[in-house]
Symmetry: C3
Subunit: 343 residues, 3 copies
């Protein structure tokens, strides 16, 4: 698989994820020392990233800017809401093409479903091959979030045999939550995982994901018994109600209080289990739980920056090597690009 | 001529343009390699540019930020619309003076006609000589756009004897389009150029420009026969209708469909002729034409970044040398500053 | 005293201020040469500052960004008003905690009184010790402004025995002006200072500050005779009416014309006296006075950048040294950190 663009979570297979996380581990350690940080900054000081973020998201935006800076890159933000009102549909491809004139990679977050994929095609057909990294495209895809969640699970279970065989509770608005939908599918890369799908019935996981789980023989159970799920799970993945997607005030009529993780649940949670949340949160994960070392939400944030640094590094290397090589790289060369010290 | 500020298109004479474009060529090539890019970045890492952009323009803004980053400069954006609402008229000079305290050069884009020139006077009379670069001041001036258009013409006609003797069609809203008005005047620097001024009659080129053309013996013809103009021209410069300047909905009553460049025109266009557009575009230049190598619009964008990099480099060098020399430089020293490797 | 966070003006004692300004002087001179500027930039290229500026302030924001860039740091701006509307009260601590995942220091400016102090506690109780620098928190504190004003006074009186024994007129809206309230208190660090408190009666200095002055034996007189104050003062500190704090249009009924510094006052002002203003200004300090060398307003701005560079450098050094040392540093080591060339 070429690593030209990062568009969809299903681009990643087990082999790729293994290499991505190995690179992420090395980058994370490197960042811990001044010399290491400077070494990383010397990787791409001659490259520039455009952050085309027409959809508000300070968190994801900040994480990607930090990732680009970690590699020494310059960044250029296109976040002006006036741009967003100007450009609609096809016109935004023109706008992206324009900004690509100044840059080497485009990281984009837009409401427009499928626009990232279209932009990637557009770039491929143009003379200058500019990678597109999807930082969230409407309701459909947010592949780097899936990677950072998966990486956080792996790191947390490192001394306990990895993700294989673990029980993971996905909690909250499973119907409309992009992160839980992606994470559920990601479990195809492991064996013996059990998913507990915990939500109020009106916000249950949708059929397309359940079909996917069956097809890939990922075991799951649907429940609204939150306490029991917390007691059983190796990881509890909390999400907030996505009421910004309400069309007729659906959320107002539903009692979510039963699906909130509070200090009481810390006592139910097993000693080695963990709690995750993609943030921002509301009352579904009590702030008073933060000090418990099993609550991984800040580590999750930092993992996001490290995973994105690794992905950017990898994509820019492939771009540079393809240019030098004059076309798609042989597989064994591609594999080399996952090693931190590869030239 | 000192190169302290860049305020108006008529600051540039033929001699200066020749040197500017020679520098731009060298910078463009330098940017093509990692070592070259790093060499450029080492030019002004100790300098900071303020981008005072109260008028919305992501394109020009991005181009200038990239230019500053290419030279290793830090940048500081003043784009907050709240600033813009606070400061009116004279007060904005105070605001610019304040920001100049943190910076070595100010690149500004404002609606206020003449404000860039006033800011330059203000800086000159202050103790710290800070260059002002006009990135577009209301309807009157946008000198770097004129340079990038002119540079694009030169590069395109490099193997065909340059701009001298060429026929250039300016198409669209010639009455209110800042770029075509400037580009028409720039033709004074060449010999034997013929201009075809193609527009709906209500948006014809204004008398001041026509008088200028006559005075400088630049031949022109006014026409609304777009097809014929495309067939004759060596360069077709398309522009969009500037309906943001409508005061009574003038644009609505005019049929522009006759002035749109479509795939059909690619067949009429001569094999070595080119198509330009300052962007953003609407229907006046069909997206389906983009793949034709004669359509120069993306190269035009990149040229803009390179020309602005050259101008910034030149202006900062003069600033630095004047400081060292203790006053305006002798002409032969000034000429040296256009060479890429000058100290 | 540890220098972990910069939250309040009363954190600074005379000893600390002496060291801070000595460091500021050295940084200011260092910035004057290319080699010096590059040396400074090499101090923290591996560190990143978050600028969490939910309250509009381009001036203070620009000054801090420039300070961070002076030390080679990357910066990440959180200024999106959409963030500001999302996060209220406690939720903003979560937001700050999130952004701290990507950064090494947080510089914040918010309307929320006390939020900077709360954020500092929050960080201290978390695993990763991230310094908080208060860039203005509602009506209560703006410690770096107090330092830059004080530094400007010191520099101006350097050849005249320093601030001790000087007469300083504070003029304008003393009731609601944060800068004058802080500066008045700062006079506790000097001996023999006399304050002239010049304002319309409805905007007189509040009792808490007057009590503080008495308690610390700082002499003061309340007057509305502006001309006489200008004639007597060694420094005239002008401020504008803070009508943004009006609750019932209080400002409209008051005649401020008597408290405006005009060219006429330049003749009354003593030859070695100075005029200051925290900016932005309105009519209370006439633009036509700017050219008089006794008007220090632009130098004040630049001093602000230098003082903030010094504070950032100091805070980051303590952070780094505490990490290496494994806890709070011995006092003699802390003192070393104020020297420019300390490791």
């Amino acid at each position: 698989m070429r690593f030209r663009h990062i568009l969809r979570a299903d681009q990643f297979d087990r082999h790729t994820l293994d290499r991505l996380y190995a690179l992420t581990n090395r980058i994370r350690k490197k960042r811990g020392t001044r010399d290491g940080a400077l070494w990383l900054r010397a990787q791409f000081p001659h490259r520039r990233a455009i952050l085309y973020f027409l959809q508000s998201s300070s968190r994801t935006w900040g994480s990607f800017v930090a990732a680009a800076q970690n590699l020494g890159m310059d960044t250029l933000d296109i976040r002006d809401p006036r741009v967003s009102s100007e450009v609609k549909g096809e016109a935004s491809l023109d706008s992206i093409r324009t900004f690509s004139s100044y840059a080497d990679v485009i990281i984009m977050r837009v409401n427009d479903k499928g626009l990232a994929a279209k932009a990637a095609e557009h770039m491929d057909s143009a003379g200058r091959p500019i990678p597109i990294i999807n930082g969230g495209s409407g309701p459909d895809e947010h592949p780097t979030q899936a990677c950072l969640d998966d990486y956080t699970l792996r790191r947390s279970f490192k001394e306990r045999g990895g993700i294989d065989g673990k029980t993971i509770a996905l909690v909250g608005d499973l119907k409309r939550g992009r992160t839980v939908r992606s994470l559920a599918r990601f479990m195809q890369h492991y064996t013996g995982v059990k998913l507990l799908l915990v939500s109020p019935p009106p916000f249950a996981m949708e059929k397309d994901v359940l079909d996917f789980l069956q097809e890939h023989e990922i075991r799951y159970a649907v429940t609204d018994n939150f306490d029991q799920a917390v007691a059983e799970a190796d990881a509890v993945y909390m999400t907030r109600i996505q009421d910004e997607h309400d069309t007729r005030g659906e959320s107002a009529g539903v009692d979510f209080s039963k699906f909130c993780f509070t200090e009481r649940h810390l006592k139910i949670l097993k000693p080695h289990s963990i709690v995750m949340h993609p943030l921002p949160r509301r009352e579904e994960l009590s702030v008073s739980c933060d000090k418990d070392p099993r609550v991984m939400i800040w580590r999750q944030e930092r993992n996001g920056m490290h995973v994105r640094t690794a992905l950017l590094l990898r994509v820019l290397r492939e771009q540079e090597m393809e240019k030098r090589w004059g076309g798609p790289l042989p597989k064994h060369i591609q594999d080399q690009l996952w090693l931190l010290d590869s030239a």
